[in-house]
């Protein structure tokens, strides 16, 4: 019991249950608790850019050499393209099959568009050359200051390749970046202690604001979306993982802590550093993880992809806009691009949706207003699917590279707690590298050690 209360995932779960209870009993209080959730997400977000920089740089510098980096990045992009295309297709199929918006008969001219003006402005379609030039920072420090993840990744790639090329002359800088990385992960471990509070606040807000009743009107859309995400995760991602040689339910159990934090905060970003560390411990090549997971957060948003097509079809149905097959394919094509550029514009799925509608043309942008109210509810499933998709991508690309330690991965998944505790006791996990979950393990492993230590050897 003591072990349970000390473990982070149990605390996060408790925070969520408590939050839901507060939100349901006293909606006003629940809404007022929003800053707790937002504050936690901000705490994590402030560390994302430097963490991406240090992990990408050390990852590449250790792999040594551009050729390998290029190959891994290329494989990652292929995997991302394949996964997001399947996800987009799934959204279209589900939207057409279930027709969640049919019969709503919304007149786009009578919808108040003020609520979405911010998104539509940000969603202005970028041209290809603008997008590519936009990846180059105005100034390196500016990329970090503005927290532009794509720019940070771009500079980190260059920096890592240059560092690898310097070989011995670069050891000092590499050691420094590694120290910095360890420090940042340690800061993250401290921040993660606040995860239960963040989950509590965020869930209390969502339940208090929207309540169970708010969902009924658009309930069909939400239900179809959750169903589609479920199908994607349990069929598509599970198949990919099976191909890599691992069992899916065990994998989900292994990343339960990350899932809960994502569910609680409805932001997959908040679990990014945790996920990277955990994939490394699973037996994925660390340089691969260092490259694939941060890139995946920009280019492998599978949950967002399902959402984008489904929501587009939904708006078309609700506003009685007929979509011919050709138009449907056009939407699909546009989304293949916008679902990637979503990452370049912070704010995520909703802005990408606005961009898509703008680009497609005949589906009224005003229809977005319908979604504003329930976006938060759908973002839970979106974030969870994104998270699982990135974890699976890290495993699959490692496997593809032939750098997945399969026997280790199986052992870890077979007995998550035991392997983790044993590793901690044996000291094979570098305590510096062990992240939040390390803090959890310190409690768990320490507890185990005192049990065995109590018996005479």
């Amino acid at each position: 019991m003591r072990r349970l209360t000390r473990s982070l995932w149990a605390q996060v779960l408790a925070g969520m249950v408590l939050g839901a209870a507060v939100g349901a009993a006293r909606p006003a209080l629940g809404v007022a608790l929003q800053p707790l959730g937002d504050g936690f997400i901000r705490l994590v977000r402030m560390l994302i850019a430097p963490i991406i920089f240090t992990t990408v740089v050390t990852g590449i510098a250790k792999v040594g050499g551009q050729r390998k980096t290029g190959r891994v990045a290329w494989k990652a992009i292929v995997a991302f393209e394949a996964l997001t295309t399947v996800a987009l297709a799934l959204g279209v199929v589900a939207g057409i099959a279930f027709g969640p918006g049919t019969g709503m008969n919304v007149d786009p001219k009578r919808v108040d568009v003020r609520a979405i003006s911010g998104y539509t402005a940000a969603g202005k379609a970028l041209t290809a050359s603008e997008f590519i030039l936009g990846i180059i920072p105005k100034d390196v420090v500016d990329a970090f200051a503005k927290d532009d993840v794509l720019q940070v990744i771009f500079f980190s790639l260059l920096f890592g390749i240059a560092l690898a090329a310097l070989r011995a002359a670069g050891t000092e800088v590499l050691a420094f970046v590694e120290d910095l990385s360890a420090l940042l992960f340690r800061v993250m471990a401290i921040v993660m202690r606040a995860a239960p509070i963040g989950a509590f606040g965020a869930v209390a807000f969502t339940v208090g604001k929207f309540g169970p009743g708010a969902l009924v009107g658009l309930g069909k859309l939400v239900a179809v979306f959750y169903l589609s995400c479920g199908v994607f995760v349990f069929v598509v991602l599970a198949a990919v993982l099976r191909w890599s040689g691992l069992g899916f339910t065990r994998f989900l159990r292994y990343i339960r802590q990350e899932l809960l934090i994502t569910l609680g905060t409805s932001s997959s970003e908040s679990a990014l550093p945790l996920l990277m560390e955990k994939m490394g411990r699973l037996g994925c090549s660390r340089p691969v993880v260092g490259l694939v997971v941060p890139l995946g957060y920009s280019f492998n948003l599978t949950g967002t992809a399902v959402y984008l097509t489904l929501a587009t079809v939904f708006i078309a149905q609700a506003t009685n806009t007929p979509i011919a097959l050709a138009k449907g394919l056009a939407i699909f094509g546009v989304l293949l691009v916008t679902s990637k550029t979503a990452a370049a514009v912070t704010g995520g799925g909703f802005i990408a949706l606005a961009a898509t509608l703008t680009a497609v043309g005949n589906v009224p942008l005003a229809g977005l207003t319908l979604l504003v109210g329930i976006d938060r509810v759908m973002s839970e499933a979106r974030a969870l699917t994104n998270l699982v998709g990135n974890g699976v991508a890290a495993v699959a690309v490692s496997r593809w590279e032939g750098e997945l330690d399969l026997s280790r991965a199986r052992a870890v998944l077979a007995d998550v707690a035991a392997v983790e505790a044993e590793e901690y006791a044996a000291g094979t996990i570098d305590p510096r590298a062990v992240v939040p979950s390390g803090a959890e393990l310190a409690g768990a492993g320490g507890g185990d050690a005192s049990h065995t230590g109590g018996r005479p050897a």
């Binding site: 030039l133 420090v141 200051a145 240059a162």
Partner: protein, 449 residues
């Protein structure tokens, strides 16, 4: 042939020719190639602030070392300052007289639409007090984020002086900053691989937009630069050598091997170890050479200095930007700092130029687009002038110290081949083994070649 295609020089040349043809044949398509040139400039620009910081800090901190070495270091510094200032002034003078860029009538807004606002706002005249106060950053990180080079320079100078004052306590930090500077220059080397693409785009755009006549202006700039460099070597460096008691043409003949190596790699760094050995054999004092030549590679870049002022004026003329006398002095002052430690790395001069334009403010940085295509063709003359300047510096400082064996030097120069043959027989000095810490510095340059 294969080697030729692999050399960046040939690739850039090819790209420039293809770009110019495309721009001439199909102006619309040529103009549409603008993002290629613009992207290349952006790649270079994003690194300016950190590179200025690391080079100026390490430069000043090491200059502190230099002073510690004493009289020789001080003399070398004085000589370097005088010569580079002279070179900067000559570049400025030639730029004003020849005016290679006038008549191009380039509209900077067409070069980089995103950046117009900053020029127009920077164009407002500022009072001296405002100007001085603006050099102090609101916040140190803010200065880097906004890429305000004057502010970054100000902070870097403070950091460098403080680091030098820390002496031994600062060595670890100095090493680290030096390491970062290596990484950054390595990134520049990577970026330079796409220079052909940038040169192609820039050339296609320039010719497409401003017509084939714009090539004439660029040709004028190259011609002016080569002529100035030649005159600088023969007149200025020649006079300095004459004072030391040697003839400049014989001296050039003596170091012809190094000149050819530099010509091949277009980086004066690659010939550094060879030059040091040769200066010693000429009769210069060994400790003086060991100090003056390596430091000269950071502080005595004569060719780069000429290029910087000349190119700055070229861009100002091409974009019809008025440069007042005060601004000319400002350019000189900024360059006195940025041209130091700009490193004799390929592409280093381009970075410094970008930094200078950013610092001066009212000359559009986007004007660099005009130079991408031709920068490579000037880097040869730049590197060779730098090399000769450093050889001469070793001779002059030795002479100043009274440690130049003038008879030996004259005899060597009088009969180069005989002396060389004798030395070969005696077993050629292995350049890198003689100065181990320089082997490392030379290695990347060789790799690049």
């Amino acid at each position: 042939m294969k080697r030729l295609l692999h050399s960046l020089y040939a690739q850039v040349l090819l790209a420039v020719v293809v770009g110019a043809i495309l721009g001439h044949v199909n102006p619309a398509l040529g103009t549409a190639m603008r993002p290629l040139g613009e992207g290349f400039i952006k790649l270079v620009k994003m690194l300016i602030a950190p590179i200025v910081f690391t080079t100026v800090v390490t430069g000043i901190a090491k200059m502190g070392d230099l002073r510690k070495v004493g009289r020789v270091g001080l003399k070398a510094l004085v000589y370097f300052e005088v010569l580079t200032t002279l070179a900067l002034a000559i570049g400025l003078f030639v730029g004003k007289v020849v005016a290679p860029g006038s008549g191009m009538n380039v509209n900077p807004a067409a070069l980089d639409t995103t950046a117009i606002a900053s020029y127009t706002s920077a164009g407002h005249s500022m009072s001296t007090a405002d100007f001085l106060l603006n050099i102090i950053p609101k916040d140190v990180v803010d200065a880097f984020a906004r890429g305000d080079i004057l502010q970054v320079l100000f902070f870097s100078v403070l950091c460098g002086v403080a680091l030098a004052a820390l002496k031994a306590d600062g060595t670890r930090l100095l090493h680290l900053i030096d390491g970062f500077s290596h990484v950054l220059f390595r990134i520049i080397a990577i970026i330079m691989r796409v220079a052909p693409l940038g040169a192609f785009g820039a050339m296609a755009f320039t010719v497409g937009k401003y017509g084939i006549a714009s090539l004439l202006s660029l040709g004028k700039l190259i011609a002016a630069f080569y002529a100035t460099s030649l005159l600088f070597v023969i007149l200025v460096l020649g006079a300095v050598l004459r004072w030391a008691g040697l003839g400049v043409f014989r001296f050039l003949r003596y170091i012809r091997e190094e000149i050819f190596i530099v010509l091949g790699t277009s980086s004066s760094e690659s010939a550094l170890p060879l030059l040091m050995g040769k200066m010693e054999r000429l009769g210069c004092s060994k400790p003086v050479v060991g100090l003056v030549v390596p430091m000269g590679y950071s502080f005595n870049l004569d060719g780069t200095s000429i290029y910087l002022t000349l190119a700055t004026l070229f861009i100002a003329q091409a974009t019809n930007t008025q440069v007042s006398f005060g601004q000319e002095m400002e350019i000189l002052a900024v360059l006195l700092l940025t041209s130091k430690g700009a490193a004799a790395v390929t592409g280093g001069g381009f970075i410094t130029l970008a930094a200078t334009l950013t610092a001066v403010g009212n000359i559009p940085v986007a004007g660099l687009t005009l130079l991408i295509g031709v920068d490579r063709f000037m880097s040869e003359a730049r590197a060779i002038t730098n090399l000769i300047g450093n050889g001469v510096a070793a001779v002059v400082v030795s002479k100043w110290e009274g440690e130049l064996d003038l008879d030996h030097a004259r005899a060597t120069l009088a009969n180069v081949t005989a002396v060389e043959a004798e030395e070969y027989r005696a077993g050629r000095v292995e350049p890198t083994a003689a100065v181990p810490e320089l082997a490392e510095a030379a290695a990347p340059a060789k790799e690049r070649a």
